[in-house]
C-alpha cells in the first residue's frame, strides 16, 4: 500500500510533499462503542495502519478484588462487561465455588442457566443494534431495543437491577424466582423467534448489508486461534468451540442445543453466527423453563468464605462475547490474594489491526461492530 503514496521522481524527490494522514479515531467517536481510541494511518480512505489505544476506562478492578471479601466482589464483575453482567457474575462465582469446593443445588443451576441465556440474548441484541447502526441501518436498533426492554424487565423483577445485576452468590442464588416469573419468561421465549426473523428480514438478505459485510474483516481460523479469539468470532471462523458444550457448567449438559459454525470467516458470517445463537438461546431457555426443578436455591456453605491456603483456580465460561474467565489465588484469607480476569473483548480486540489493514474507513466501523467489544472489560 505504501508505494502508492510516495512515488518518487527519478532523482528521489517527491513532486508534492505527500505523506499518509494520521487520523485519531475516538475516544469520543460515535462508532467506537465507548472509549476505544484508534490511531489510524490512512491513505485517502484506505487504512494502512491501525493502533488501538486502550485504558480510558481503567478502574483497577483486578486490584479492587484483593481488597474485599469474596462475595463483596460480585458487583465489580457487573461493571466489567456492563451489557452482560449475569455471565460475568456466573464466571466469578463459578471460580469461587471451585476454589472453595461449594456445591450448587439443581434449581440454582437452572436459574443461573436461564439468567445467563437471557443475558446472552440481551447482549446479542445490543450488538445487533449497534452493528446495524454503524453500517447505516437505523431501524433494527429500535426493534432490538423493544425486545431487550422485555429482558431487562425480567431481570428487574428477579433482582431489582436492570443492568448491573449482582444476581449470583457463591454456593447458589440469592433469591428464588418471583411468582409468575416463569410465565412471563415463557411469553418472551415464545415471541422471540418471530422477533429474530423480523431483524433478519431487514438485514440478512439485504443487498447493501451483504455488500458491506461479505468478505470484510476476514479472520482466518489459524489467526483466530493464534490470537486467542473466542466466542462468536471464533465460530464465525469455522472452529466449533463453545465452552457450554466443551466443558459444560451449570445446566448446559442437561439441555439440547446446537453450536452454529460458519466457515467464510467474514463479518457476514459472524453476523449469522450470532443470529443463530439467539435462536439456540431461546431453545435453551425453553428447555430450562420446562425442566426447572424444585428445591433449595442455596447450597451448604460456611458462614465466612475463606480460600484454602496456597490454592489457585481458573474457571472460564462461555459469555456472549467469548470465554470470560477468572483466575483466583487464595492464601487462607477472606479476600483473594490475586484475581486475574480473562475478558473476551480484550483478546478479540487484538485482531482488529490485522483485520482492518488495507480496508476502507467504512469497513473499519463494520469490523469494530463485528468484534462486539465492551471497553469496560477491556480496560477493567
Amino acid at each position: 500500500m505504501t508505494e502508492s503514496i510516495e512515488t518518487p521522481t527519478p532523482d528521489g524527490e517527491t513532486l508534492f510533499g505527500l505523506e499518509e494522514m494520521e487520523l485519531n479515531f475516538g475516544p469520543q467517536h460515535p462508532a467506537t462503542h465507548g472509549v476505544l481510541r484508534l490511531k489510524l494511518k490512512v491513505d485517502g480512505e484506505r487504512i494502512i495502519g491501525c493502533y488501538p489505544i486502550i485504558g480510558y476506562l481503567h478502574r483497577g478492578t483486578e486490584k479492587l478484588f484483593e481488597l474485599s471479601p469474596f462475595f463483596q466482589n460480585i458487583p465489580h464483575t457487573d461493571r466489567m462487561d456492563y451489557v452482560a453482567a449475569a455471565t460475568n457474575n456466573l464466571a466469578y462465582v463459578g471460580a469461587v465455588e471451585k476454589l472453595l469446593g461449594l456445591v450448587v443445588p439443581p434449581r440454582a443451576r437452572y436459574i443461573r442457566t436461564i439468567l445467563s441465556e437471557l443475558q446472552r440474548l440481551s447482549s446479542h441484541l445490543l450488538w445487533l443494534a449497534t452493528h446495524a447502526i454503524d453500517i447505516g441501518a437505523m431501524t433494527p436498533f429500535f426493534y432490538t431495543f423493544r425486545e431487550r426492554e422485555l429482558i431487562l424487565d425480567l431481570f428487574e423483577e428477579y433482582c431489582g437491577a436492570r443492568l448491573t445485576l449482582n444476581c449470583m452468590r457463591p454456593g447458589g442464588q440469592p433469591y428464588d424466582l418471583p411468582v409468575g416469573w416463569t410465565d412471563r419468561c415463557r411469553e418472551l421465549v415464545d415471541l422471540f423467534p418471530a422477533a429474530i426473523e423480523e431483524y433478519g428480514g431487514l438485514l440478512t438478505e439485504n443487498r447493501i448489508w451483504k455488500k458491506r459485510t461479505i468478505g470484510v474483516g476476514v479472520l482466518t481460523a489459524e489467526k483466530a486461534l493464534a490470537y486467542g479469539v473466542t466466542g462468536p468470532m471464533l465460530r464465525g471462523s469455522g472452529i466449533q468451540w463453545d465452552l457450554r458444550k466443551a466443558m459444560p457448567y451449570e445446566a448446559y449438559d442437561e439441555v439440547d442445543f446446537d453450536v452454529p459454525v460458519f466457515h467464510n470467516c467474514d463479518t457476514y458470517d459472524r453476523y449469522l453466527v450470532r443470529m443463530e445463537e439467539m435462536r439456540q438461546s431461546t431453545r435453551i431457555l425453553d428447555q430450562c423453563l420446562k425442566q426447572l426443578p424444585e428445591g433449595p436455591i442455596m447450597g451448604k456453605r460456611p458462614r465466612v468464605l475463606k480460600a484454602p491456603k496456597d490454592s489457585e483456580v481458573y474457571h472460564g465460561i462461555e459469555g456472549p462475547k467469548g470465554e470470560i474467565g477468572f483466575y483466583i489465588v487464595g492464601d487462607g484469607k477472606q479476600q483473594p490474594y490475586r484475581c486475574r480476569v480473562r475478558p473476551p473483548s480484550f483478546y478479540n480486540l487484538q485482531v482488529l489491526p490485522d483485520m482492518v489493514e488495507g480496508l476502507l474507513l467504512a469497513d473499519l466501523v463494520a469490523v469494530i461492530g463485528t468484534t462486539d467489544i465492551v471497553l469496560g472489560e477491556i480496560d477493567r
Partner: protein
C-alpha cells in the same frame, strides 16, 4: 404604479417571496414529518412534547439554532468557512425559479402563470445550479481544518460529481421526448402527448425515471448514499465543525435539495401539475371539480410529497453503501445505463 412596474417588479418579487416562504415552511415541517414517519417505521412515537402532536417542534428547533453560539474554529479558513453553507442553500432555492407549480395562463386563461419564470434553457439552468451546491460542501469540509470534515468533503466531491453524469444523461430523455428544454414546455408536452414521460416509450421512460431517482438521492446525500455525513464513520462529515445557524444552513440545504430534486423529477417524469389521466373522460373527477389552477397545485404538491415520503422511507430501511461500492454503482451501472437509454430513446423517437 405603472403597469410595467407591476408586471416586471411587483409580481415577480411577490412570487419569489411566496415561493421561498413556502419552501422554507415545507422544509421545517418536512423535518418534523421525517421524524414522525421514521418514528412510525421504528416503533416509537417521534417528537410529541412541543405543541399538540409535536407540531411546534420545528419552531423550537429553529429558535434553538438561531440563538446558539456560532463557533468558527480558530484555525479554520474563515471566508471559506462562512461561504460554504451559503453556497449549499442558495442554488437549491434558485432552482425553484423555473419549476412550474401550476398551469400557465394559456391553460387557465387567467392573467398569471404559476411559475416565477420560464426560460427556454430551463433544464440546463437546473443542472448548472444543482452543480454549485457541491462547492459549498467541499469548501465547508476543507475550510473546517478538521480531518473528518476533509474526508467528508472529499467523499461528497467524488460522489456528487460522479452522480451528476448519469443525472445529466438521463435528463436528456425527457428533453428528447418533449423537444424543449423549458420545464413548463416539458409539462405542456406531457399534457399534449397525453402521457407522463415516466411511462412513455416503456420501459425507456421508466428507466430514465429510476436512474434519475437514484442519482437524485445520491446528489442530495441522503440514505443510503449519505456517505459525506456518515455519522458512524466521519462523526458528522463535512459539517462536523459547524454549529448554530451555519449548521442549520447545511441542514436547510440538504432538505431544499431533496425538495428541488423531487420537484424536478415530478415535473419531468410525473407530469408536473397535471392530474392523472387528464384526458380520460370518466376520470375527470381527478380534477377535483376545482379550477384547473388549484387542482394543478394540489396534484403537484401531492406528487411532491409522495416523492419525499420515498426519501424518508429509504432512510428508515437501508444500510449505507461503502464509498467504492457507491462509485462502482455510479460508473459501472448508472452511467452506461443512462447512456444507452438516451441512445435508445433517440432511436425510438426517430423511428416512430
Amino acid at each position: 404604479m405603472p403597469q410595467v412596474l407591476i408586471d416586471h417588479l411587483l409580481m415577480p418579487v411577490l412570487k419569489i417571496g411566496v415561493v421561498v416562504g413556502m419552501v422554507m415552511g415545507v422544509i421545517t415541517y418536512l423535518v418534523l414529518a421525517e421524524r414522525k414517519i421514521l418514528g412510525f417505521i421504528q416503533v416509537r412515537v417521534g417528537p410529541n412534547r412541543v405543541g399538540p402532536w409535536g407540531l411546534l417542534q420545528p419552531i423550537a428547533d429553529v429558535a434553538k439554532l438561531l440563538v446558539k453560539e456560532d463557533v468558527i474554529p480558530r484555525r479554520a479558513v474563515k471566508w471559506a468557512f462562512v461561504l460554504g453553507p451559503c453556497l449549499v442553500v442558495a442554488p437549491a432555492l434558485v432552482i425553484f425559479a423555473v419549476v412550474p407549480f401550476g398551469p400557465p395562463s394559456t391553460v387557465t386563461g387567467g392573467e398569471q402563470n404559476w411559475f416565477i419564470t420560464d426560460i427556454n434553457v430551463g433544464l440546463l439552468f437546473v443542472l448548472a445550479f444543482a452543480t454549485i451546491g457541491v462547492y459549498g460542501i467541499i469548501l465547508g469540509g476543507w475550510a473546517s481544518n478538521s480531518k473528518f470534515s476533509l474526508l467528508g468533503g472529499l467523499r461528497s466531491a467524488a460522489q456528487m460529481i460522479s452522480y451528476e453524469v448519469p443525472q445529466g444523461f438521463t435528463l436528456v430523455v425527457p428533453l428528447l421526448m418533449a423537444g424543449t428544454m423549458s420545464l413548463n414546455g416539458i409539462v405542456m408536452a406531457q399534457y399534449e402527448q397525453q402521457v407522463w414521460f415516466a411511462f412513455k416509450f416503456l420501459p425507456l421512460g421508466l428507466l430514465a425515471f429510476f436512474i434519475y431517482l437514484v442519482a437524485g438521492i445520491a446528489e442530495s446525500n441522503r440514505n443510503p448514499f449519505d456517505l459525506p455525513e456518515a455519522e458512524s464513520e466521519l462523526v458528522a462529515g463535512f459539517h462536523t465543525e459547524y454549529s448554530g445557524m451555519r449548521f442549520a444552513l447545511f441542514f436547510l440545504g440538504e432538505y431544499a435539495n431533496m425538495i428541488v430534486i423531487s420537484a424536478v423529477a415530478v415535473t419531468l417524469f410525473l407530469g408536473g401539475w397535471l392530474p392523472p389521466f387528464p384526458n380520460v373522460g370518466w376520470l375527470s373527477f381527478l380534477g377535483l371539480g376545482l379550477p384547473p389552477a388549484i387542482a394543478g397545485l394540489f396534484w403537484f404538491t401531492f406528487k411532491l410529497f409522495c416523492f419525499l415520503f420515498v426519501y424518508i422511507w429509504f432512510r428508515g430501511t437501508f444500510p449505507r453503501y461503502r464509498f467504492d461500492q457507491l462509485m462502482e454503482l455510479g460508473w459501472k451501472w448508472l452511467i452506461p445505463l443512462a447512456f444507452a437509454n438516451v441512445l435508445l430513446t433517440g432511436l425510438v423517437k426517430i423511428l416512430l
